[in-house]
Structures are given as structure tokens and as C-alpha cells.
């Protein structure tokens, strides 16, 4: 079965639901695969633990939630503690190295870099940390091509922020490629 499960987790307000939506849109609209995105979040507008899940498959997707996660992004320690229990053995674990210090035990492919600080210092705006993370997830999972993912990013952000997001995506993609070699 070609079912592939991704989970984007962190704190409410970090833009991870958006990152999940863009990943699913890239797969569904631009890559021609099947994709479903869902989320769960608390009643808070910001803070709390939030997750966005994306299932990608060549076939019709029935159950829309993750069963055994292939790739997990955790942008906070709380999210990592709460959402890493069902990461598959050998699965991909992408962490923000400044915010997640206690790394879950297990046989995972661990990639870690300061995602939020990369957005702040290298891209220039902390607000695009979610797109840096998305670029990294695209590179690490290989479920959608770099070109299709970039198209999905650019068609999802306001006109005035296209260059900023293009740069964020690109830097995230490259950092992950470098980190995973």
C-alpha cells in the first residue's frame, strides 16, 4: 500500500495547519496523487499543542487520520512529547533543535536544526518558520517534487509575500538536504 502519513506538530499560531494544507495541496493538485489533510487543536487561538496530519496515497484514502506516522515534524517540546508515540520505526523525525531538547528514544531518522531561528536570521522573518519547516519536510519525505511543492506554496500565500515564502521554502529544503546527508 502506498499510504504515507505526515504529521506537522507544534504550538497553535506557528502555522503548522497551513504547512500541512500546502503539503496536501501539492500532492493532490500538483502531483496528481490522493491527499487528505486534517487537524486537531484545542479551543485556544494561540499556544496549546496543535497538529495537522496529511495522508498521501496513490489510491483512495479512507481513514483520514494517521495510523503509523512516516514523518513527524515537532516544533515544540510539548508537541514532540505528545505526538511522537506513533512514529513508525525508521520514520523521519524533524525537530527544531532550539526548542526540542529531549529527543524521543527509538529507531528514527533524526534531523534537527534551529527552524525558527533559521526563519528569523537567514530568511529575515520568524513568521515564515512554518514554510522553512515545510521545505525541509518536502526534502526529507520525497512525496512531492520540489517544483510542485513550491507551486503549492506560492499559490497559497498573498502576492506581497511570494518572495519571502519562496526564500523560506528554499532555505528549509536546502538545510534539510544538507543535514540528512
Amino acid at each position: 500500500m502506498s499510504r504515507y502519513e505526515l504529521r506537522f506538530s507544534g504550538a497553535g499560531g506557528q502555522g503548522l495547519i497551513t504547512a500541512g494544507i500546502i503539503m496536501a495541496k501539492a500532492a493532490s493538485i500538483y502531483e496528481g496523487k490522493q491527499a487528505v489533510q486534517s487537524q486537531s487543536y484545542g479551543p485556544e487561538a494561540r499556544g496549546g499543542a496543535s497538529k495537522s496530519e496529511v495522508i498521501i496515497s496513490d489510491e483512495m484514502i479512507d481513514y483520514p487520520k494517521a495510523t503509523k506516522v512516516d514523518a513527524l515534524l515537532a516544533m515544540t517540546q510539548v508537541a514532540c512529547d505528545k505526538y511522537s508515540h506513533d512514529l513508525k520505526e525508521g520514520g523521519i523525525l524533524l525537530l527544531d533543535s532550539d526548542l526540542v531538547k529531549e529527543i524521543p528514544k527509538g529507531n528514527f531518522k533524526l534531523i534537527s536544526f534551529p527552524i525558527i531561528n533559521t526563519a528569523k536570521n537567514d530568511v529575515g522573518r520568524e513568521i515564515v518558520a512554518n514554510i522553512v519547516a515545510l521545505g525541509a519536510m518536502v526534502a526529507l519525505t520525497g512525496q512531492v517534487s520540489r517544483e510542485n511543492a513550491e507551486k503549492a506554496v506560492l499559490s497559497s500565500v498573498p502576492e506581497a509575500f511570494i518572495e519571502l515564502n519562496r526564500k523560506a521554502f528554499s532555505i528549509g529544503f536546502e538545510r534539510a538536504m544538507a543535514a540528512s546527508i
Binding site: I21, A24, K25, S28, I29, Q34, A35, V36, Q37, S38, Q39, S40, Y41, G42, P43, I61, D62, Y63, P64, K65, T67
Partner: protein, 377 residues
């Protein structure tokens, strides 16, 4: 030319379905997890000369759509459990006065304000029994984002055809998840419009049963003057307590829906031909069920799924017909046994019914269903 495709959230698809169906009036009181419907309607309706009103409360919104429908408009209100409870009095008026309207209710945890962001399927009985008195109920329970679009169009069609409120009730998972939607071309899904009078204004009666169980409905402002009341009424629309009139009208109102159950009830049969265990499911839970059925089949177990697309009228006849042929029914649902009870009625004791009930705000996962499938001997 290829069709327009988009990656949409369930609530978004439902809203575009309503616009496709010809909805020109929305009134509501926004509430999680259905807020996106109000949000999009507030943007889209003014563009097509329609009206969007955010009312002072939920019952006010229900009143507004009933009034607007009587002017001939196709109308929508959207809400979630707590709002659905508050609307019930005027839903009853919609039923007795026979006013077409669609109420979109996203099911979240309850009772009361319950769990605003958690999924649930615990409003299905409220759709049938929430308002008091004998009355017809039509309730649709879609499973996919594409289906939300299409079923919203069907909800409008049924409401116009049978001159009655129709509920479309996705659970929070279906309402908030995103999938690809292929938009039908205009005209591709036929639209049904309410029957309007062929007689002169002087001869018109709003509940004239000589035209059948669904009397023609004139639009206010079109020259026809008539009376609408929430009391039991005679054919001319004025209140009556005459026993034989009230009895006949009450029976007709229920009959116009129950007597056309075959036209209204839709369902999907999945792997049922040789199935020995049948999962009866709806909404997002049917997606877990399909996953479980597929895994069971891979393991050589003859499992299948009967998926409800229409919850009310309930498909008793179809389920009773299966009951004599299978070893067990399984009803997974995000409530404490609402569909389960109806399936038990339909099963008539011929076959065991096994429930899987969850009200903790988490979806029913496929493994829970698979375990029960394996348990049926």
C-alpha cells in the same frame, strides 16, 4: 474543457454546494466548527445580489431563513450542536408551516457547549426528535469533502421538492478536513425548484392537498396573499382545531417524507455481496470502517460496509433485508449508541448488533472496528 478542481475544506465545499444549488439568503450565528460557512457566505452572497445576515442569536437566524424562504428564496443557516438545540422551536414551525430551508449542522461534542473543537455524531437523534410533536425529518450525513458539496445540493433539492426543512450534518472531521473537489459544471446536477401555484391569487390556498401531499407554495410579494401560522392549520392556512382536519394534516405532513423514503434514502454498499459481517456506518466513521473492511478482506474475513448517506428517513427496510443473511452488524459511532438503536430495530432480533461507541473527542480508529469484525463468529 477540464473541470475546475480545488483543494477544499469540508465547510468550504458545503458552502459552494449551497451556492451551486441557488442559495441566495443566509442567516446565522457563527459557531465553531461551522464558522467558515458564515464567513464565505458573507463574502460570496453580496457578489450575486444575495443577502447575508448575522443575527442576534440562533433562533433569530432560524426565523430569518423561514421568512426569507416564504419570499421564494433558497435559504441556508449553519450551526453546531448548541445552536441546533436553540433553533428547535422554529425548526418545528418550519415543519408544520411546510417551509423549505436547509440547516447545516456540524456535529461537535455535547451535550450543551460540550467540546467545541472535538468531533462527534451525537446530534442525529436531535435531527429527528429535537423539536416536539410529530413531524417529518430529512437528515443527510456525508463522508467526504466532494460528497459535502453534492449532498448540499441534494439537501436543497429535497427541501424544495418536499417543502420541508432538511438537515445536512457532517461530523467535525468531515467538516474540517481537506480534500480535492471537482466542481460540477452548471446544470450537471439537476436543481429542483418548489412547485408554485397555477391557480389565481383568489383561488390559492397554501395547503391545498388537491395538488397532492406537497401543496404548491406561492412567494410573498408575487401577488398571492396567504396566512402562515405555527398552529395546526386548515388548507387556507388559518388555525383550526377541527379534529378530522388536524388528524389528516398531521398524517400528510409525515407521509410526504416517510411515504417517499425510497426517493430520499441513499446509501453505499461496499463489499456486501458475500459479506458475513456488515459494518453500518456514516460520516467520518464510515472511512474508518472502509479501512477496517479492507484489512479484514486481506485476512480472508468476509466483511462489508453499509454506509448511510441519509440518516433520516432511516433505511430500516434495507437493513432488515440484510439481517437474515449475515452473522452480525457492527455500528461504530461517535455517540453512545444512536444509530445502534435504529439498527437493532431493523435487525428484529435476527442477528446480533455490536456497538462501538466513542465520545472522548477522538475518532473511532480502524483497529477498534477490525477487532469487533474478528469477534463475530
Amino acid at each position: 474543457m477540464s473541470k475546475k478542481v480545488a483543494f477544499l475544506q469540508g465547510n468550504e465545499a458545503a458552502t459552494y454546494g449551497a451556492l451551486y444549488a441557488g442559495c441566495t439568503f443566509f442567516a446565522g450565528y457563527p459557531i465553531t466548527p461551522s464558522t467558515e460557512v458564515a464567513e464565505i457566505m458573507s463574502i460570496e452572497l453580496p457578489k450575486i445580489g444575495g443577502k447575508f445576515i448575522q443575527m442576534e442569536d440562533e433562533i433569530g437566524a432560524m426565523a430569518a431563513i423561514l421568512g426569507a424562504s416564504l419570499t421564494g428564496a433558497k435559504v441556508l443557516d449553519s450551526t453546531s450542536g448548541p445552536g441546533f438545540s436553540l433553533k428547535q422551536e422554529l425548526i418545528g414551525m418550519g415543519c408544520i408551516s411546510e417551509i423549505p430551508c436547509v440547516v447545516y449542522n456540524v456535529m461537535r461534542g455535547g451535550p450543551s457547549t460540550g467540546m467545541p473543537t472535538g468531533p462527534s455524531q451525537s446530534d442525529v437523534m436531535c435531527a429527528k426528535w429535537g423539536t416536539h410533536g410529530d413531524h417529518p425529518a430529512i437528515c443527510l450525513v456525508p463522508s467526504t469533502v466532494q460528497e459535502l458539496f453534492e449532498e448540499m445540493v441534494r439537501a436543497f433539492n429535497l427541501s424544495e421538492k418536499y417543502r420541508t426543512p432538511v438537515f445536512i450534518m457532517p461530523d467535525e472531521i468531515v467538516a474540517h478536513m481537506r480534500e480535492r473537489v471537482v466542481f460540477p459544471e452548471p446544470g450537471e446536477i439537476p436543481l429542483i425548484e418548489r412547485t408554485t401555484p397555477t391557480v389565481s391569487p383568489a383561488d390559492y390556498k397554501p395547503y391545498d392537498t388537491s395538488f397532492g401531499d406537497v401543496p404548491p407554495l406561492a412567494a410573498f410579494g408575487s401577488g398571492y396573499k396567504f396566512h402562515v401560522t405555527s398552529l395546526n392549520k386548515a388548507q387556507d392556512g388559518f388555525p383550526t382545531t377541527k379534529a378530522e382536519l388536524v388528524q389528516a394534516e398531521e398524517e400528510r405532513q409525515v407521509r410526504k417524507v416517510e411515504g417517499n423514503a425510497d426517493d430520499i434514502i441513499e446509501f453505499e454498499e461496499y463489499q456486501l455481496d458475500d459479506a458475513e459481517v456488515v459494518v453500518i456506518a456514516y460520516g467520518s466513521t464510515a472511512r474508518s470502517a472502509r479501512y477496517a473492511v479492507n484489512v479484514a478482506r486481506e485476512q480472508g474475513i468476509k466483511a462489508g460496509m453499509f454506509r448511510l448517506k441519509t440518516f433520516w428517513p432511516f433505511p430500516y427496510k434495507q437493513i432488515t433485508a440484510m439481517a437474515g443473511k449475515v452473522k452480525g452488524f457492527i455500528t461504530p459511532e461517535m455517540n453512545l449508541g444512536m444509530c445502534f438503536g435504529e439498527v437493532e430495530r431493523a435487525a428484529q432480533g435476527k442477528v446480533p448488533v455490536i456497538g462501538i461507541f466513542r465520545v472522548d473527542g477522538e475518532p473511532i480508529n480502524p483497529d477498534q472496528i477490525l477487532d469487533k469484525i474478528k469477534g463475530v463468529k
